[in-house]
Amino acid sequence: MEMISWPMIFALMAKQFWPVWGALVVTYVLSIRFKRKLGLYGKLFDSPVGMIGFAIVMFWVFTAVFANVIMTFDPLAQLGSVKNPLPGTPVPAGTEGQYPWFLLGGDHLARDVFSRMVMGARQVLIIAPAATTFAFLVGITLGLPAGYLGGKLDTVLSFFANLVLAFPVILLFYLLVTPEIRNTGIPVVLAAILFLIPIGFFVVLFNSRFHTNPPKRNLYVGITLVLGLWAYSGLAFNSDPLGVWGMEPNLLNVFVSVVFVNAPTVFRIVRGIVMDIKSRDYVAAGQTRGEQAWYIMLWEILPNARGPLIVDYCLRIGYTTILLGTLGFFGLGVTPESPDWGSTINAGRKLLSLVPHPAVVPALALMSLVLGLNLLADGLREESMKD
């Protein structure tokens, strides 16, 4: 078989991505049709920048969802013995009915770069949003009282936040994400503390709202505790009795470090917003009604702080993606054959000047995802300011 040319490669890739195109079209048609009923999400479709950003992000989200259909090979399979085959090279004959080409070439172990990129999207899009969400819950839970109550609590929490922020990120990663540190149990302790905070957040959230209505309160708090502690036992200690929740030790290590690095910045943002909002009239009205402090923080201030927080959430997922890539780039906390983008770039950079494609493909993928998130955040900021 012949090498195929670049236009042909792009056409074949576009064909391979068909479930993504379908899902994107459905999403956009439905969203634009009902955009007036969808709140801030609907308004996003008034801003061209936001629409482009959202399209790029959803492209990768759907790629992650449909990865099994899109990829042409097993991302770990070594196809033939030729190192670093160029994009469009035919795959040496193997099993019946296999895909005939390396669409974007192969890496130094003759694994298909295209399939690894697609599978890498799934890895990135599971960890990055989850870690960002945790960082936000931690940052909000600590930032609200620090900003609202102030005083000694604020001084102490701010000191610790600044402490983490003054730590060079790479140094922290090198110290926290090593195989040795797993043996000491420090990641598990950190996880035990950090993962407890979201449960506390939801318990306080429901309790402060429904404490006048005990049956309802008991129901919500009960559900939170059962679900939360169930997930907690699995995620932090890897001892879920039912085996649904669980994280590999090195993944837990990476996850905890990323949350740990991100949470102080979120804390500072939330604290700043709360200090601004707490002098508003509706807060004073709540105080006059005799509402509890947590009710005012969680049900009066937090909903009114959502605009900047949503924008920062999008930006921060992008930043977390970059951080995860950095970890992969230094080979920290991931298994060597993992198809995530950072470690693929790291593996490809050794022969970068001779055969760039194994490193350039995941690099462009990572860049486009972060770009999409930044554009989405920009669009959201523009639209939320119009309110």
């Binding site: 060079p168 040795e180 001779l354 760039p356």
Partner: protein
Amino acid sequence: MLNFVIRRLGVMLLTALVLTFVVFFLTNLPPNLEKLARSEGSVRMTDAAVASWIEDHGHGGSVFYRYAEWLGVAPGWVLTDAKGVTRGLCIAQNQDPAAADHFCGILQGNWGFSTVFKKPVLASLGKSMAATGWLMLWVMVIMVPVALLIGVLAGMREGSRTDRVLSTFSIATSATPEYVSGVILVALFASPATGFSPIFANWGWLSGKTLFFGTATSAMDHITFWNFALPVATIALYGVGYIARMTRASMTEVMTQQYIRTARLKGVAFRDVVMRHALRNAMIAPFTVIMLQFPYLLNGVVITETLFNYKGFGWMLVTAAGNNDIEMLLGASVVAVIFVLATQLISDIGYVFLNPRIRLS
């Protein structure tokens, strides 16, 4: 003002102590010490031998006391082994134990000995920091003016086409971390197989194989445009976007102020309004951002030096961390922490000087 600086310095000192303790604690964890024992002693040591090696080399006992020793506020350990030889933290080889100092931590200038580079930590630190200093200097020289220019041009007329184009550019660069832009730049400019180099070589424009060098190792001795442009561009590109966006935000805010409108209405030319009235006020926020950008720059330096094999501070940090070189890593962390805290202090003080509206008393 003086009070503010003193209080700020106090907090800074406390932060530095806590951070260095955290680094000390994390680098001196039992598994790391065991690894050190096996690499310095022998790989085949029994567990008991490892434990006694750790004791014999002053790594036993409480971590707080060892931290104080390392810092130089507690007397260094002294041990006399079975053969009657007295060794200690402060006792150099073949030195009379009685003549040695009692305290010798980093405060006394004893930063330890690097097990990877086989040199005193301070010596290798100095050399690598000088190398990184050049890199940072050039990054700043390129990044700051470019970013400010982009930000001011974009924020001058909000919503104009210039603004759209420049804003998109700055969003794109801030979405491109160093390990991505470095890879792309090398593929474009420093690869004999792809990008521009083969085209230029075909046209006979190049004497060598590639336009730029893919590694910056030769820049250690002699910096040229061809071996230094790519690393500098790699770091600068990521920072430009962020500073430019902050400058733009600050500039657009200033441009909506009353005094700008007044100046426009009294007939001052748009150029003069921007240059005389807006620019000075719009520069306050970016100053803080630029100072706070230094810690992130450190990140970029580590990645770029690894990617381009430039043996500066970042490369050294990675090598030390990868090879369990505890004293080197501690020394590097001290430098990094002090560097970050110093930039924070400068940004705080500078902000007060630049913005007369802020009163500290």
